[in-house]
Subunit: 546 residues, 2 copies
Amino acid sequence: MKIAIAQLNYHIGNYEANTAKIISHIKQAEQDGAELVVFSELALCGYPPYDLLERKEFVQHALKAVELIAQSCTTVAAIVGCPELNPEPQGKNLYNSAYFLAKGQIKQVVRKTLLPNYDVFDEYRYFQPNTTFSLVEWKGLKIALTICEDIWDDQPVANAFSRDRLYTLSPMQELAKLEPHLAINIAASPFSYTQVDIRRNIVCNKAKSFNVPFIYVNQVGELVFDGNSMVVNANGAMVAKAKCFEEDYLIVDSETLTMSPVIEAEPTDTIALIYKALVLGVRDYFQKTGFKQATLGLSGGIDSAVTLVLAVDALGKDNVRVLLLPSQYSSDHSINDAVALADNLGVRYDIVPIEPIFSQFNEALSPLFVGKEANLTEENIQARVRGTLLMALSNKFGNIVLNTSNKSEAAVGYGTLYGDMNGGLSVLGDVYKMDVFRLAHYMNRKSEIIPNNTIVKPPSAELRPDQKDSDSLPEYEVLDAILFKYINQNQSPQEIIAAGFEEATVLKTIRLVNMNEYKRFQTAPTLRVSSKAFGMGRRIPLVAQL
Amino acid sequence: MKIAIAQLNYHIGNYEANTAKIISHIKQAEQDGAELVVFSELALCGYPPYDLLERKEFVQHALKAVELIAQSCTTVAAIVGCPELNPEPQGKNLYNSAYFLAKGQIKQVVRKTLLPNYDVFDEYRYFQPNTTFSLVEWKGLKIALTICEDIWDDQPVANAFSRDRLYTLSPMQELAKLEPHLAINIAASPFSYTQVDIRRNIVCNKAKSFNVPFIYVNQVGELVFDGNSMVVNANGAMVAKAKCFEEDYLIVDSETLTMSPVIEAEPTDTIALIYKALVLGVRDYFQKTGFKQATLGLSGGIDSAVTLVLAVDALGKDNVRVLLLPSQYSSDHSINDAVALADNLGVRYDIVPIEPIFSQFNEALSPLFVGKEANLTEENIQARVRGTLLMALSNKFGNIVLNTSNKSEAAVGYGTLYGDMNGGLSVLGDVYKMDVFRLAHYMNRKSEIIPNNTIVKPPSAELRPDQKDSDSLPEYEVLDAILFKYINQNQSPQEIIAAGFEEATVLKTIRLVNMNEYKRFQTAPTLRVSSKAFGMGRRIPLVAQL
């Protein structure tokens, strides 16, 4: 059977656009002689809908849309992810379901069994878990249809406790008893640079363990979902693969999978993947929120430089303009480096010196600050003057301020709330500083777009004379390694020290992370590229003593 | 049997303080001749610990502490809430458990069956649900011990879907088969002014349905937990009750409960309860984050006035200082009203006119804004100048800025991000505007603390000449009613219109709510007093089309 794989980008709650996109791919599949076309998890409403699933009209809209789509399935059948009302009077409102549409009708509905409820996932908040198993049969082909997490029953348990398995049930094991010819999994599986190969291995292992060919259909778009849909033969070898970070559409023949040539795993360039994820993330966030233009403050430092290149690659140079906001503490080279980058990219820039406004703040506050020395307060005022100028540009011209903070800074609170932490979107908030450097080198791989001086000079906030990041923070090589273990791997201070890091540095770093939860609570939404980003996927109580 | 009820305030992660507090109450109960003392849900680690439960050292600390506490239980037994490691290699890491401590040991561990995973609750993220049932037996007394949600199996399903029950299992029904003499529920049940009587009815109904006396032990503190622990006889009548919003300790005799006089339900003054909840919330947030002093901007309007009274009642007048930040658009009466309030409360105030700073911003931006008319941009700059001045005071003197926005404003986005939305804690962010007026009247019930003029004048942001809230928003009576239906009751636009509200007003209001999710994403943590506050308990994707 010819089966079409539709790896698409869906917009949460935009039923008109999602429905049109799904129907157009059903028509395409029909034209291409496919007998089945597969869309991804909750494709119809978009993922993750979160508490929109508690709005009855949101779900009703989905149910109407799936009926409409069913009518398009006259010759070709389709599998579409969509919420389903729980028909039982007890339990959660909904199931997370895969609708099998054929002959103009909803022929069958398959429900998700394993509901992820960790990191950014809150599925148990909305969905009742499935407990019964049956195959989908279409033109003699018996399909084991599962939804995303259903095949992750034997995932490595990525937490600090020694556990074998997160789940006590294996949907594929149940379905295998029914002797399927083919397995299909529809997914909304986000990218993480820390687990590039894990998903592929899971799909390949499932195919091999149950000796069944496997079609895996993921989506693309903001969160960030990376696509990478794949087809695996019954020996567990990959025979087809969709693009990463782009919509894609491909057709496979389920009968010839065993004869198809095997695709070897591509060499993984983590930095290139992060770059692609961030470009997609920025572009998609703007498209889905209805904005076209971005602004940011260009300091001459590496974080704003890398953010600007990403913004230009995502939105186009004419849709980005920047402000240079020098103070009396800004070095000449900072301004020169910023100007050189803007010129290299062909981006409009304006220079607004902040010193006159900063002075006015100091003057206004001087009666209150009599006898007090200048300290962090005055540094923060500078950052807030900059943040206010950027927001003024944003308000006047209707663009979004891009936050330029990196994950290392965000982790230790090296940033000013309502100042340089401003922004509608944090582009680098899940990228540690050392990876920001690597991104800069990657961006310069063909020619020097980011001035070399921006990359090689010691990082500095330039909020007082001769300030350097290393005055108050460990070197970034060390800092990032500690942060990765603490935040991404949930290691304890004792484990990190045992791994060879200096105790004082570890304890200081961890103290900084814990005492700055309040700043991150108010931080901009952050593009997620690792297994543990700040934001929805990491929930720490603010009043805790740690 | 004499049983002590310890209704205490626990600090998340502060094992030293929580352990000491628990042990001291065990000693007290011993002295008082009690044979059992009951503490509340997850008392030992504090509630809600959220992702701290994913840190192994956090859980290990709890396990050590409970062993230590067990040693104090020589003559008296204790029930203490504490996480438990899941001994099985499959499933979630932990159980949410009640430890029964007696004779110096952990005698028995009872696990929570129903795990709330809605609103602010994420328990399924961490805990495996219990599936087996047994009683705790102590000196011949057979106790049906449950944890919080376990008795909420037949709660009214407060969502938009027509559902009978959220859960398919009733722990009390299972335990009743074992013929207990007494039921005990340990809880971490937050206050909500929208469901004051529901909890009491649930406890009373359980007692009556299963014909068993019932001891319900809640906690107090930030979130906000309101206490209101209670004892109900086997007829479902309340015979003892702990204080609301305060720590309390009481002793009951399980054998004489049926003879104890029945306590009638007190008349409920919702506004008085909200007042108490907010005072406790502010005080507790400061204590637990290690701060003593607060500041806020006093505008002469009602929101900042009510916030100031709450801050003074929570922290004391010497721990609060305010800034008056008038602009050229501020009316004289605003300054007079603000000064009068500060004087009435004996709070230090300073006046910092913002016009010189505002002018400097305008001047700096004028080359960029050539040909553009003054609009919301300039209004936002004023708000951000004020926000920056408040943060400067906060930074210099180490106090917390209290955010003064109310829930109606927060809902429709009537506030400036990084401006008047600044703050370490939002005091009124879960209080609709009409209730802010009611709070002001309540505060003035004995004498005029808040100047009458502040209460009676039309609300205005005073960011341009003669501005009034009603220029751009519906009247607050109407606005609040629509918002309550949409946000707290999850009603659809159609349902709200059908209830008699003008269609255009409903649609405009809902549009404003939906288009301002991005502002609320970066808002200060908010004291929760209703069943649906902004923040952790309400999760709306920012990129959705609604």
